[in-house]
Symmetry: D2
Subunit: 152 residues, 4 copies
């Protein structure tokens, strides 16, 4: 078995068997009933709600914010995030999120749930509204990327 | 700790921790955006889709149908169903479904997903359209009840 | 389905399907190879090791110790503990531990793992050696009981 | 994050969080108390017992045996096996077993549980005693290899 088949196997296992069928059916229903942009907005709103139900403690630095977010994700087996500060932006890279992985065939909106989560978490950490979160380049089944860009 | 607290604890654990937060946020979003009857129809359509993705083998008796359905549910840790034949109806009692339990506060539609699943499974088993599936009395967090009634 | 069957179902589901077969086979092997008292000692040593791998933060009160222990248990879906102070003893009641439940047919030692865990946690909290932990009366598949008794 | 870190993350997630701590503590206890060869024998006996508790249906071909074994493994989220027939041997390659992965630091016996399972399954399928199962070369955290060799 190749390295890629091994990764495919582990990626699928990372999503609880109990919910795979339900989530896939729900996603197919959404995809049939609504345009991609509308599903993206719906998933983002679900993410925003999730973020308000899982508030992070008040923190002072980006490193502490990353650590607080990862405490939530680790407790739920929902992957790992890294936050990297650039000169004009923060790069968000969320690895191994089960929803992103399971819905990789819905590339128009499989990263939108996490987008909503991070938007609320960054806002509540006081990093918005001078910054704006947007999808980044290069998301895949394994990685969801976002950019938190300074609004001029 | 009382027997009822014990049951509450086990009931919650029966739903994978990985998906509790997502499902609750999704349900809250639906409940805010749509009337109960519309969410019920949406959940039923998701259930119908799930049933078509998890087809049962062809069977001859109600007991075999129950057994085939339970093979699916057991493989997903999704509770247990009993099908009981009366003179003019079949009573469906699904115990310990994680979605029904987690969304017990959405009593208007927390049993609708399974309603959609059973409607398709019964139809494909050739038991419809001379029968019609409808919600039964006495559903709770622990039990989803339906009646499959002969259409006159 | 009766309330007792419902509880049986939920209790079994509380133990991850992935490990049920392995743990049952391991327990049967132990039970055949060793007297109960030896398996009890082995399980307690495994529990002591687990406790050293999952250290609790330093706390000042029994309520804080209970809360710190429950943070560990909740993160692992390993039930809930209550610590109740009496005049001469502390009563430990651990509800819904998956190992205790799954191995209820090995009543001689199915609570010994947790006994080892609590012995180390109480010792590291400075509550031993003036106190000694021993199995309490009335343990069952759902509840593991211990008494932390003042040594005269 | 590199491909290797991604794989490390998924590999760990493939083992139910509920049991990681217990299994690691149990393994450490075994490793301290017994020589590797004895732990290997113990794990193999646990595997043999597991196999007798999870009997495969009677099959006619190696492909059917592989399929029957994989039905068990899939239902338990316990990886995937391939059985490949050579001129004088059968090569067994079990991918993504959570026990093998979690105990990769116990290379002397982390594949012994599955060795016991396959020995019993091959024996009951009538493929032994003219064949003998032995550990193969090149096992790792992700792959457990065995060879079923014709006994001369």
């Amino acid at each position: 078995m190749s390295a890629s088949e091994l990764l495919d196997h582990y990626r699928l296992q990372a999503c609880s068997l109990q919910w795979r069928g339900f989530i896939l059916a729900m996603a197919a229903e959404f995809a049939e009933a609504l345009p991609d942009a509308d599903v993206a907005r719906l998933m983002a709103r679900i993410g925003e709600r999730f973020a308000r139900d899982h508030r992070l403690p008040v923190v002072d630095t980006l490193a502490e914010l990353e650590s607080a977010a990862n405490a939530v994700w680790a407790s739920l087996s929902w992957g790992v995030v890294t936050l990297r500060e650039g000169s004009t932006e923060v790069r968000v890279e969320h690895l191994a999120a089960p929803l992103t992985a399971l819905l990789a065939h819905h590339a128009g909106w499989n990263t939108s749930f996490l987008e909503g989560v991070y938007r609320v978490w960054f806002r509540e950490a006081g990093m918005l509204p001078s910054l704006d979160l947007e999808p980044g380049q290069g998301s895949s089944a394994d990685v969801s990327r976002y950019i938190l860009r300074r609004v001029s």
